[in-house]
């Protein structure tokens, strides 16, 4: 006895997912886009006011600090994770013993949340409890390391914590890539007496371009989303010196009651992401056509 035919069952099974995709993802994104043109303050208000929220946003120095921080943080974070990730992957590929142990040491931060990461580093970098305190109490009275409370340097402490958290994943991506390259390379290059580091740099790494691209994209999405680590480490401070767009949006939504302006800022986040990902999409489409 069949109550439903298979098509009906497929439709039934996909029903929750259709709601998720259409309502909770695309519908919500469209609604926030709408709100960015609306008069919303503490509550959503559907009266449209054109581009006013964007004008206010672009006149806000705080927004530009947060926006610039996203690029400073993002650039250094991506660069740091990839350089250290590749370096560690190569060293682990060379190491004969203890690979799995070292791998674990570099990877475990990935299992911790970014809040935990931020709180740990906040304590280590805090002048009164952490590294500065350590040096001062061991005799270097004038030692100074207060980046975390500095207008100019706070953003770099976020890079530091985030690289600590993210390097392991990049290392493992490259390590599996290196291990899947043709072992014949080593025989051939040994005969030609090519130094090991040149084999990695000129022969193996160029084969891993797809992994590099994946890593950059993966880290790039992390950058735009980065909220947790900033709140836990500096909460955007001192002042708003280390603020980032994700935190700016949150603050304008829930603490300042400016939903319209916050939505405009959120739309800027998405727009930036689309602009940055466009070259990749074009590259992919061209590759598939070829």
């Amino acid at each position: 006895m069949k109550l439903l035919n298979n098509h009906a069952k497929i439709a039934l099974v996909l029903c929750p997912t259709i709601i998720v995709a259409v309502y909770f993802i695309w519908g919500f994104a469209a609604y926030t886009a709408y709100l960015s043109f609306s008069k919303s303050t503490f509550l959503p208000n559907h009266e449209l006011i054109g581009l006013e929220n964007y004008h206010t946003l672009f006149d806000d120095i705080r927004w530009w600090v947060a926006y610039a921080n996203m690029f400073i943080f993002g650039g250094l974070y991506i660069f740091g994770c990839i350089i250290f990730g590749i370096l560690l992957a190569i060293l682990l590929d060379r190491a004969t013993k203890g690979e799995s142990l070292f791998r674990m040491f570099y990877l475990y931060p990935m299992s911790l949340s970014l809040v935990v990461t931020g709180l740990i580093w906040q304590w280590v970098l805090n002048p009164t409890s952490g590294i500065q305190h350590l040096f001062r109490s061991s005799g270097y009275e004038n030692f100074k390391f207060n980046w975390i409370v500095s207008q100019d340097y706070a953003i770099y402490t976020i890079v530091f914590a985030a690289v600590w958290h993210g390097t392991g994943l990049i290392m493992i991506l490259f390590l599996s890539g290196i291990k899947s390259t043709d072992p014949e390379i080593w025989k051939a290059t040994k005969i030609d007496q090519i130094p090991v580091w040149r084999v990695y740099l000129n022969i193996i790494l160029p084969q891993l371009r797809a992994i590099l691209l994946t890593a950059v994209l993966l880290l790039g999405f992390q950058v735009v989303r980065s909220f947790d680590v900033v709140v836990a480490l500096t909460n955007g401070g001192p002042g708003y010196a280390s603020d980032v767009p994700a935190r700016y949006v949150f603050e304008y939504f829930f603490e300042r009651g400016k939903i319209g302006q916050g939505s405009a800022a959120a739309m800027m986040m998405v727009t930036t992401m689309i602009v940055l990902i466009l070259p990749y999409l074009v590259f992919e489409i061209r590759r598939k056509d070829a």
């Binding site: 993802i25 519908g27 959503p44 949340s113 600590w164 992994i211 989303r225 949150f250």
Partner: protein
Amino acid sequence: MIARTGKSALIYAVLVLFGLFFLSPLYVMFVASFKTLAEVRQSSIFSLPQVWTIEPWIKAWSGACSGLDCQGIRPFFIATFEIAIPAVFFAIFLGALNGYVMTQWRSKFADILFGLLLIGSFVPLQLFLIPLAVTLRELDIYGTTVGLVLIHTVYGIPLTTMLFRNFYISLPSELFKAAVIDGAGFFKIFFSVIVPMSPAIMIVAIILVFSGIYNDFLFALTFGDTSKRPIMAAVQNLVATTYGVKEHNTNIAAVFISALPTLLLFLFAGKFFVRGLTHGAVKG
């Protein structure tokens, strides 16, 4: 020969140095969480406790105060599991069914739906906050466990669908065809053919989705009720709010406790952790 041992010594020296860099915060936290308050304020961050005490751990668990609320992080810890367990179950159940439908009963419509989900999973979550707040108010589940279960199920589905779809697509289609010829129905095939073949991907999915929910901060902060907020929002709040003397040792113990579930998962099931993350990374 000497050159070679020299090189390998250098390799290990660099590996050990990086190892120390990655491990030192954990070590620093560990020793600090066993120091008395007086010692934690005086001593160097690297020194071992002169007097070991588990007082900070006990206090962090059941007596630390955020503001006037002095019940430690235990209620928040439990609340997080109350949210994570059902959400993991729903997200995985629906993701597995989606993967099954999308690979074995291929249709143009399912492909489009998958595309919509996939692109949607890259949208920054900030875009969902206000509409979510409106929806949760309408449904009258704002600030409740049910609300957070719904949120995590909804935004877990793209990930689980992707994981199961990518796994099921590699299954030999003969099994499915044979089951159809045998007259097995739609759900029978799923439960008795497909599910038994996917324990590994199930474990990967459970670990990934659970740690995602457990480690979530944005939704926890926005939609968690103050008395039952999920752990990451609670522990951040505990450390950030100061009334009087900041009890570093207790705060650090609280951070440590909050990190333990996912840390232990990594230690005991690291293989699956890595597989999930790299799989998601490469295929996504």
